[in-house]
Symmetry: C2
Subunit: 234 residues, 2 copies
């Protein structure tokens, strides 16, 4: 995977792109005719200095993508006049991931002001757009790179919730319920001979807390202490 | 949904966060004790000036999240010492989307240097982390906000590929194949009485182009013109 920045104006944006690449595990940066030759010193590239040092500089897009089997341009436009197939990021990333299994992919980002030129686009197999809001589509370059790379590395089969397994066991929850009921009776909130319906209400109330295993112990300790105090005051 | 920036140091990052919010259709920004009071003028907030103007300023986290039913903190840490359940962005976003159907959600982002403090975290129900690389987890604040918001608005049932339907019809592809074969024979590439095997090879070659409907017509026109020229030269 190669990230290709074409005619980027602000060196800080080159740095921001490099940082996002490093965050998400990409290392091959190519720049085509950047404004300002000092882009390698970009201050916003926290932690990505080495990546910037090894960035390749090219004078035209053809050269920058020569070794890639798939060339994808990014655009904010989503109009019919485009001469290219257009994919939303969610769909396009899937195609890119597949292609990365068998060969190089270049993803091109145009300049902050004008995006990619028609000449740049003619080197692309298809175009990618980030699903931003119709009224404000134009994203900051560094943020656009970060979002695209995130979509490429995100876990497509995001793990189903495992937090449930950390929940307190029913027995522990019941001990808390009993301690709470005792405390409620001891405090006079419930009558000593309170109806089963009232008890059940409290039981359901405690279940809805979805107590975690580690917390249940703490709650039980607190309740027992309160209960001890309540009883010793009698 | 409220984006809450806590103790942000660089006003440009507040601006970048605001821009990403506008890109992805979020409007309620809250800032807690930002450094520099001039954050509303942030230059990087292209297109998000109004959003910045309406940003609410608070002096503590409790106040900034008071009306939210779910409070989520963002963190780069993914260690056991954390006192909170930790979710990857892909999973956490699903929970947030669900909650947004019934009430307010606050997502907190800490300062560039230190992230959220333990005091800030104590207001959170659980924590979110972006799946960045172990060796370089710390993201730029504006990019982190953009990635989180993108995950919240991304199409979770990304449309299956529809490009297939734009492919040229088999009849059109066959017309191209015939024209190509004629041209190959006329040019001497194939013998006039060439074997069926050679023809089939060409046929498969053309099929592998996966020609799009609009392009097929153009290719046919070009081939026919070449064929006409080849034949008129005889």
């Amino acid at each position: 995977m190669r990230v290709v920045l074409v005619a980027t104006r602000n060196p800080l944006n080159v740095g921001a792109a490099a940082r996002a690449m490093s965050n998400f595990g990409f290392s091959r940066l190519r720049v085509v005719n950047p404004y300002g030759t000092a882009f390698r010193d970009a201050r916003s590239a926290v932690g990505a200095a080495e990546l910037l040092t090894h960035a390749e500089e090219h004078t035209n897009v053809a050269e920058a993508v020569a070794d890639c089997a798939l060339v994808v341009g990014t655009t904010t436009a989503r109009h019919r006049e485009l001469q290219h197939p257009l994919r939303r990021l969610e769909t396009g990333a899937r195609v890119i991931r597949k292609q990365l299994g068998s060969g190089c992919v270049a993803v091109l980002f145009g300049s902050e002001k004008r995006g990619l030129s028609n000449e740049d686009l003619s080197h692309c197999h298809w175009l990618l757009h980030i699903p931003s809001r119709e009224e404000h589509m134009s994203m900051n370059l560094g943020q656009a790179v970060a979002v695209c790379l995130y979509e490429l590395v995100r876990d497509t089969k995001a793990e189903p919730e495992k937090e449930k397994s950390q929940l307190a066991a029913a027995g522990e929850v019941e001990r808390i319920t009993v301690a709470l009921l005792d405390a409620l009776r001891a405090s006079g909130y419930l009558n000593p001979g309170s109806a089963a319906a009232a008890e059940e209400k409290v039981r359901r109330l405690v279940r809805r807390l979805n107590l975690r295993a580690g917390d249940a112990e703490v709650w039980l300790g607190m309740l027992r202490q309160i209960l001890w105090k309540l009883r010793s005051e009698r």
